[in-house]
Amino acid sequence: MIRFEQVSKVYPGSHRALQKVSFNLEQGQMAFLTGHSGAGKSTLLKLITAIERPSDGQVFIGNRDISRIKASQVPYLRRQIGVIFQDYKLLNDKTVFDNVALPLIIDGYGLSDITKRVHAALDKVGLHDKARFLPLELSGGEQQRVGIARAVVNKPALLIADEPTGNLDQELSLEIMRLFEQFNQVGVTVLIASHDLNLIQERGYPCLVLKQGQLAHNGLLREQL
């Protein structure tokens, strides 16, 4: 599903954020991505959604090389990936419902479909009663969960999360993890960037460890950090 081949990323006027990273994530797999602050986790995820282009190497999403994808094709790529952003990226002047409905509207769903799916997604993250609130009227953790609901409402084949539990307490974090596992069980490929080692180590999922832009480890994590 996701394949990186010798991918490097150099930001203008900066050192290398990623250096020759290669890995392969099979369809239906779930994996973690970890590393220090500034190690390049977000950069790696941005390459998958074509927010950034690799400076070198190739990125394959479902057998398609997106490292030099045309700008007009990017929207179609993004519609097939559910993304949870580190800074939520909610629209502050739209209600929680409208925020979560956005991917469905973009994809051309019907109105009744939208209502059904949005409520189901909000249910899953425990925010059913906040549907009519504006994001700024929610706590940080609630906003994060709105972002999660928006990412999964479309039932994408690939789910990518950047620090999805940064603002959640341990209990809620575990619940969200269970949600990701449920998705994974119905065949969704999941890649989660996180620095919460407790969360990662307890589960038996493979883990990509970045160290200053280089892939330091790929596999199960057993205290090697």
Binding site: K89, I105, I106, L158
Partner: protein, 316 residues
């Protein structure tokens, strides 16, 4: 790669139009929600568009006026004192069939004296005359195709050579002045129209640019969620559409107000001059032209601005 569930094509097609309608109404609602700013844009555009429309109307009226003055331009043939009324009338008949002559009129010497007496200050003076010193006059109305200064002069010299004619006079200077005035008017009108249309384009594109900038975050998020540029552009294009439409209507209203005011002013002036003046209004075609150009200009400006500015916003 396929998503778990996808939307059918017909569904997608239906929703495309539903969204279109929604976005059109939403952008109207958006204008409504920020009444001051949108009214301002509309007002400025209305004023800017009303000027070309008013100028066009003014041009039409000036054209009519000069036409009527020109079509009154005539050559007066002062005949020899010796020419009798009979001879004059015979020659008048001959003249009527000549090229460049639309109409002829015989003015008897007594009639001429009456007219002269009515001119300011001469009434009592001329009534003291014992003899009428004036000759008969034939007034030649120029055909419309002969009303340019050159051609009129050509006809004048031709008529002046006739043996009956003591003197032939054409108010040529008036023609030249009118031509100069009209050329100047149409030149400056054209210049102004170009300027004003440019202003409309700039104002609309700037309004949309600021509109887009103030919704930068939203556009960024939409792009991140896979919205196509066209989908993102549409509400702004609709905004441009509504601004153009209402701006055009406002221009029409303003133009008619101006017309109304001018007619009132002219009627007041007319009272002083003892004349009744009327103005030509806007025809249905001209109204349509105004609306179409208002919409066209604003849609083009919006499209240009929206494409350019939305492309500049890229998620980081």
């Amino acid at each position: 790669m396929a998503s778990v569930h996808r939307v059918s094509f017909t569904q997608r097609f239906k929703m495309y139009w539903v969204r279109h309608l929604q976005q059109a109404l939403a952008s109207l609602g958006e204008l409504w929600r920020t009444p001051l700013s949108s009214m301002l844009s509309i007002a400025v555009i209305g004023v800017c568009l009303s000027m070309p429309a008013a100028l066009q109307l003014a041009y039409k009226n000036v054209q009519r006026l000069t036409d009527s003055i020109q079509s009154n331009s005539q050559i007066s043939l002062y005949l020899q004192q010796s020419v009798t009324e009979k001879e004059a009338k015979a020659w008048q008949l001959e003249l009527s069939s000549e090229g460049g002559v639309a109409d002829t009129q015989f003015v008897h010497r007594d009639q001429g004296l009456d007219q002269l007496q009515q001119r300011a200050g001469f009434g009592s003076v001329l009534s003291l005359l014992e003899d009428n010193p004036l000759p008969h006059v034939i007034v030649v109305q120029l055909a419309s195709s002969w009303q340019s200064a050159d051609k009129a002069e050509q006809l004048l010299s031709q008529l002046a050579q006739a043996p009956w004619v003591e003197q032939a006079k054409l108010d040529l200077e008036w023609l030249e002045r009118l031509d100069a005035l009209r050329a100047m008017f149409s030149q400056s009108a054209l210049f102004l129209i170009v300027l004003l249309v440019a202003a409309v384009v700039l104002i609309i594109s700037n309004t949309l640019r600021l509109n887009i900038l103030s919704r930068r975050d939203e556009i960024e998020v939409m792009k991140l969620l896979g919205a196509s540029s066209r989908f993102i552009q549409r509400p702004f294009l609709y905004t441009g559409f509504w601004i153009g439409l209402t701006g055009g209507l406002l221009a029409w209203v303003l133009c008619n107000l101006m017309l109304f005011w001018c007619e009132y002013a002219l009627s007041q002036l007319g009272l002083a001059f003892g004349q009744q003046l009327t103005l030509l209004g806007q025809s249905a075609q001209e109204f349509l032209l105004l609306m179409i150009s208002a919409l066209g200009v604003s849609l083009l400006a919006s499209w240009w601005s929206v494409r350019r500015n939305i492309r500049l916003i890229e998620p980081k």
